[in-house]
């Protein structure tokens, strides 16, 4: 049973006070946040008020919900009404959204207590949080290293015990890679399973919100709490999201685990060794290991780094200094746009906007964006063929363990390679999750990625739960 599951059970029964639970996590934040910098904003007073309200509900015989009193941290690209939401960008510094994201409403309805808004790479563009306008987050396991990104603050908050669970967003690996580097569970759900209403858009056909947790059971509980149809997101799947509870105890007897024989090279030897150990552990638990081919996997990186910037260049056009956020005044409106964007966007965001507009421009559309969309189809088709022969596939979540600050900042493409194994799931719209499975170099955690077909969360969690049992 996960700690969040236990905490909620204790609070609902009245055995544990939400106020005491929250105070414990706020103390952890007091002790180490200055060193880790997981948060853009800590909401200590609001969390205390909320916990007291939950205790009052229990005292009056009510049920605050399945996440009663569970401290949760929110990536700072999730809109919170009246509470600053920055995307770690100067262009939104000080902006207070006039509404809550659907996931924020659902967490509140489930009784969770929000303790703060977490740091990220600006507009979720990056793999280390080094692109935050407010300074990087440090990996709580080794503060000389990055926590991964872009949801680095959400991963670090859970790893450091600042919150029991958190939410991030994953466009090309932004939940799974930091989860791997911080030694926690990170889940990117099926595209459309969780409403994106109120998630500040980066690349709309790829973005998906998902949970971080210390336990697979907690990740399942959090995902069940936020998933489900939302009329506020036109890409939200109308079907009822499957229940995950039974999967956690099912074991993997007879489950077919795909090993991708033509997986792109590039993972470090220590990571490869843990992946092998994961295959062996699942085989020992009764799973069948099946060799599969996904030839287009290797082209995912290129397709992604054309499609995601193209969508971003369109989405980020809304930051124009007119309706919200930063304005840098100038003599005419066009000059004001330029001055505002030059001052408000950091280097990586500017790079991606330029790359995206170039890939979409009339003369180059067919050569870049159009071609990338076709490669995306090849990847989806290759996955479909592979899933005729297996139920899930296993890959590394990240090619390496957590790396030192500054080691990839000089070469943007080296940073992009961090997403090699996570990107194809976003392009296909499939779920995938990172599960800690032992440690590699310098005793740092290694994450194994479990990939599943669309709405394959039950079998994905089934395998993840077995990996969790066998990792300890």
């Amino acid at each position: 049973m996960g700690r969040a599951v236990e905490l909620a059970a204790g609070v609902r029964s009245g055995e544990v006070r939400a106020a005491d639970v929250v105070e414990g996590y706020l103390s952890a934040i007091d002790a180490r946040e200055a060193e880790v910098h997981a948060f853009n904003l800590v909401l200590a007073d609001a969390a205390r008020e909320r916990a007291a309200a939950i205790d009052a509900v229990v005292a009056s015989g009510g049920d605050p919900g399945p996440l009663a009193g569970v401290p949760v941290a929110l990536k700072d690209n999730l809109c919170t009404r009246g509470v600053p939401t920055t995307c770690s960008s100067k262009i939104l510094d000080g902006w207070r959204p006039p509404y809550d994201a659907t996931v924020v409403e659902r967490l509140a309805a489930a009784g969770a207590v929000v303790v703060g808004k977490t740091n990220l790479d600006e507009f979720a563009m990056g793999s280390s949080t080094e692109n935050s306008a407010f300074g990087p987050t440090r990996n709580p396991l080794d503060v000389s290293r990055v926590p991964g990104g872009s949801s680095g603050g959400s991963a670090a908050a859970v790893a450091a015990g600042f919150a029991e669970v958190s939410l991030g967003s994953d466009t090309g690996g932004s939940i799974r890679q930091p989860a791997a580097l911080c030694g926690v569970i990170g889940v990117k759900p099926t595209y459309g399973a969780v409403s994106r209403h109120g998630l500040v858009a980066f690349a709309s056909s790829l973005d998906q919100i998902g949970p971080f947790a210390n336990d697979v059971a907690d990740a399942a509980l959090l995902l069940e709490s936020i998933a489900g149809h939302d009329p506020g997101d036109s890409t939200s799947i109308p079907e009822v999201f499957p229940s995950l509870g039974a999967s956690l105890r099912a074991g993997v007897e007879g489950v077919r685990i795909g090993r991708i024989s033509d997986l792109p090279a590039g993972a470090d030897a220590d990571v490869e060794a843990r992946l092998e150990a994961a295959f062996e552990a699942l085989a020992a638990a009764g799973a069948e290991i099946v060799d599969v081919e996904v030839p287009a996997f290797t082209y995912g990186l290129t397709a992604y780094y054309l499609i995601a910037p193209a969508e971003a260049s369109s989405n980020l056009a809304r930051y124009d200094g007119v309706r919200f956020g930063l304005r840098v005044d100038a003599a005419d409106t066009n000059a004001m746009y330029t001055a505002t964007r030059s001052a408000g966007f950091g280097d990586e965001v500017q790079r991606r906007i330029m790359l995206g507009t170039y890939a979409l421009s009339a003369g180059y559309y067919d050569a870049y964006y159009g071609k990338a969309l076709k490669v995306r189809r090849l990847i989806a088709d290759d996955f479909a063929r592979a899933y005729e022969r297996c139920d899930v596939m296993l890959t590394p979540a990240s090619p390496s363990v957590a790396f030192p600050f500054g080691s990839k900042t000089a070469d943007p493409f080296a940073m992009y390679l961090c997403d090699t194994y996570t990107i194809p799931s976003n392009l296909a719209g499939h779920p995938a999750m990172s599960v800690p499975f032992g440690s590699g170099a310098d005793d740092l955690p290694v994450g194994v990625q479990v990939l599943a077909p669309a709405l394959g969360e039950p079998v994905m969690f089934q395998v993840a739960a077995e990996l969790e049992r066998r990792a300890s």
Partner: protein, 72 residues
Amino acid sequence: MTSQLDDMLGHFADIDALDLDGVEPMTQPYPLVNVLRDDTVAPGLDRDEVLAAAPDPDSDRFRVPPILGLDG
């Protein structure tokens, strides 16, 4: 930054080796359909709250610098 972008486009040339003739472009994970809700009035955002977030609101509007420039 120009040389970095140039370097990236060099890396992205790997897909030129693929035969993509006849492959249908994929813009979304699932086929998009037009999603319509019932034509009933629902509460929208609070206008004052929305305008309060603007850099230069003017009564019910957003004020911007001259569109055509001072010498236009």
